[in-house]
Amino acid sequence: MTAHDALSALLGDRFTTAQAHRAAHAQSETHVTGGLPDAVAYPETTAEVADLMRICAAHRLPVIGWGAGTSLEGHALALHGGVTVDFTRMDRVLDIRAEDMLVRVQPGITREALNRDLRATGLFFPVDPGANASLGGMAATRASGTTAVRYGTMRDAVLGLEVVLADGTVIRTGSAAPKSAAGYDLTALFVGSEGTLGLITELTLRLHGQPEAVSAAVCGFATMAQTVDCVIETIQSGLPMARIEFLDPAAVAACNAYSGQTLAETPLLLVEFHGTPASVAEQAARFGEIAQSHGSTGFRWAEQPEDRSALWKMRHAAYPACLAARPGATAIVTDVCVPISQLAQAVEETRADIAASGIPGPILGHVGDGNFHAILLIDPHSPEDRATAKALAARMATRALRLGGTVTGEHGIGIGKLGYMAQEHGAAWPVMGALKTALDPLNLLNPGKLVPPHDA
């Protein structure tokens, strides 16, 4: 039987080679393009994924996981053809264990759908990337969001996984216990592996109690250095910030224009506090004092839920807002992360570099983690723009490494950042290659990503 027949027999019309389906899975959100799968599969169960994997292994067909397709570095593009496994039909919540503050989900569920399902439990799932990504994709990219400063990233949020390996074997990693010292941390190995080691078919996630009280604020600063000093002191003082986000003047301008806000176009912090009414009030007051001592201006509370949600809606819409700042533009989104003491320098050098380049590049970031993005806006038809932006991005990456950081805080490697892996990891990169070869000897899982190329 051909692979096509076997997969059709397995999945019926949920296996398709129709051009429209293939093309829909050959797109990415950004500048990274190319890579058309031969077929797309829409499995509904782990058993189907395992059978699919066995068939593809027998026929040496590449298999590429696909969650919501929102990754920014071309992660889910089929560089060598094969079957793209779209998990959108595996989108159920399997088990909510409120007492243990855990939930077991299928990988295709999106973070917004998950939080809708959790609403009545008094619990929530905190990782909130700007897109409505799938939990499987978020685990596979080790995603984070605005609340990582308080609740951590997907690394912290995933307690266990079910994974289909390259030969179709199904394994479970981790457990439902809050901690374990039982052997290698396979969960952490699959989190962030971008679909190159196995397909995630189930996740056990840590939840948190919905805060009784929430308050948020914005404030501006005259300089980047003041802004960062304020962040450092806030974190050092042990204030349990739920969010602490940064926008540079260009990003503020873009958001103002897009979301109808009227914020002062200076370096800006958006902060949020979670706790009891009393603790939130106290945290807010203390933050206010710290901010003031660093020369904050235009301090504004968003006490009402509507004001708060307007503020965060604006932050979450920052990416389209930046894109809209240059009509017709496409973006190269950078994602460096540095130790926080190096953040002011990293941002200021980047700012100056962007200004000199002539390309618009608003900067925003999860400053509590030392992570920031320059949204480099290029004319997709201009090779010069692209070259300039790529050179800027490369200098940002090198700068981040020089300052003790990483080329990607949360977006991952995909195709776009593969070129920096050797520089960032040195001799550790081939160790990743050795792991890949051990777990996927035929190089079928998302080939061409993350590890050193086979012929290198």
């Binding site: 007492e99 243990d100 008094g122 990219t141 080790r142 995603a143 990582a148 951590g152 990233t153 912290d156 390996l165 394994i171 479970r172 990693t173 457990s175 439902a176 216990a177 809050p178 901690k179 374990s180 010292a181 039982a182 290698y184 952490a188 190995l189 080691l197 948190h208 109690g209 450092i232 050092q236 003082s237 042990g238 706790g275 009891t276 009393a278 603790s279 106290e282 992360c337 130790p339 926080i340 983690d369 030392g370 981040a400 003790g404 950081g405 990607t408 805080g409 949360e410 950042k417 892996m421 960032e424 990891h425 550790a428 990169w429 990743m432 792991l435 070869t437 051990a438 777990l439 993350l450």
Partner: protein, 463 residues
């Protein structure tokens, strides 16, 4: 002590290492015994030699040499692990890393530090005193940060700050062929490739030798409040734990002891606490937050049926309360002087904690075993010290049976055989049941990174 001669490969490695490191390679029986007859209920197994190392470069050179001769290498921190992790059942060279005890960098602004693997956690905190920062994993033994990373250790504050898993940012590792790699980094997060850091954390020295550890640090909390409360029964105590966890209180510690443990503590410490299931709780944060949380916790405890609540009014009183908790092991040992025991270490989802304890207690009650319970209730992790006389075959068999039974109960509840002590030799037999097909993935990883199989061979799983 029986002594078998080293294999030819090991002998060749010993000769090479002696030539290079001189008297820092020891074959003395006493030194070998210190490294192979350690705190453990398992039979001793001495290495053929012990090598005392000072730097990453030395470790790399020595590993490369052992690699050439196929000689087993057993990393050794403080030797406080309790599942036979540092024993040398296949002989080989114990690499004593305790001399690598320098704090290399403290970055107060970034709240991180970089230390050599042999730094003892208590010494790190001593070193940090002036900075206002601290490292939170506070386990009872003198242990090295390299050893703690390698066993994925935790402590009483794990409920707040996490275990070594959450606190290690990066590592320098000497691979089994002597190559030096750097994993992770100083950025708070990264999505750049496989998480090698977490592959080595918890690997018990089977994949390489950690020579430097980059750790997260925390600011000392402004205020703290300690409370002890006793409950009618265990389910009331664990109900209180769940309520406290869910209410988002600033819990820094929440520890549980059972009636027998409390009797032991009273007898050993000369105190008269209620002999009932007891929680020790510490809340930390800003002064107003702590005051608020403490009041709320007392309400929760009373709502869960606490019979006795005692809040420490000052630092002294709090220290007294916690000293009793930290001396629990000695109190236990005093129950049956001269007898040690197996410390069990299962960890289950919190909601299953009462059932897990009740089920095993029922089984223990059918035997004559003395087995007090103490645990990190906030993590669902508890220890029963199963006290038995290793010279008494019958008692030994019963203790082992109870241990096995407890692990089976915990696994059936979605838990793990070991919350913090690790696998070593002692828990190896339970790994198939816990991991199923995933155990083969661990084997594949081991073969890929250590093809000649020299790094702490025969631990966690057999190949």
């Amino acid at each position: 002590m029986t002594h078998t001669e080293p294999s030819a490969g090991v002998q060749a490695a010993i000769d090479g290492l002696a030539a290079r490191f001189g008297s820092r390679l020891s074959r003395a029986e006493a030194v070998r015994a210190q490294h192979g007859a350690v705190e453990s209920w398992l039979p001793q197994a001495l290495p053929d030699a012990v090598l005392f190392l000072q730097s990453t470069e030395e470790v790399a050179e020595a590993v490369a040499l052992c690699h050439r001769h196929g000689a087993p290498v057993i990393p050794f921190g403080a030797g406080s692990s309790i599942e036979g992790q540092v024993l040398a059942p296949r002989g080989g060279i114990s690499f004593d890393l305790s001399g690598m005890d320098k704090v290399l960098a403290v970055n107060a602004e970034d709240m991180d530090c970089n230390v050599q693997c042999g730094v003892i956690h208590q010494n790190l905190n001593e070193h940090l005193r002036a900075t206002g920062l601290f490292f939170p994993v506070d386990l009872g033994a003198h242990a090295t940060l390299g050893g703690m990373a390698s066993t994925r250790a935790s402590g009483t504050t794990t409920v707040r700050y996490g275990s070594m898993r959450e606190l290690v940012l990066g590592l320098t590792v000497v691979m089994p062929d002597g190559q030096v790699i750097r994993t992770g980094g100083r950025a708070r997060k990264s999505a750049a490739g496989y998480d090698l850091t977490h592959l080595f954390v918890g690997a018990e020295g089977t994949l390489g030798i950690i020579t430097e550890v980059t750790l997260r640090l925390f600011g000392r909390p402004e205020a703290s409040r300690s409370i002890l409360c006793a409950f009618e029964d265990l389910p009331s105590a664990t109900t209180c734990v769940v309520a406290a966890l869910q209410s988002g209180l600033g819990l820094n510690r929440i520890e549980l002891a059972d009636t027998l443990q409390m009797q032991a503590i009273n007898a050993h410490g000369g105190v008269a606490l209620p002999e009932r299931p007891t929680l020790w709780v510490e809340l930390t944060g800003s002064a107003p937050a702590v005051a608020h949380d403490a009041a709320l916790f007392v309400e929760l405890a009373q709502g869960s049926g606490a019979l006795h609540v005692e809040a420490a009014d000052n630092h002294e009183a709090a220290n007294r309360l916690w000293r009793l908790r930290h001396n629990a092991l000695y109190a236990t040992r005093a129950l049956r002087p001269g007898i040690k025991g197996i410390s069990t270490d299962v960890c289950v989802p919190i909601s299953r904690l009462p059932d897990c304890i009740a089920e095993i207690r029922a089984e223990i009650d059918k035997t004559d075993l003395i087995a007090p319970l103490i645990g990190h209730a906030g993590d669902g992790n508890f220890h029963l010290v199963l006290m038995f006389d290793p010279d008494d075959a019958q008692e030994t068999a019963v203790a082992r049976q109870i241990n096995a039974r407890l692990i089976a109960i915990a696994l059936a509840m979605g838990g793990t055989a070991t919350g913090e002590h690790g696998v070593g030799l002692g828990k190896m037999g339970y790994m198939q049941a816990e991991h199923g097909a995933a155990l083969d993935v661990m084997r594949q990883i081991k073969r890929a990174l250590d093809p000649s199989g020299i790094m702490n061979p025969g631990k966690i799983f057999t190949l």
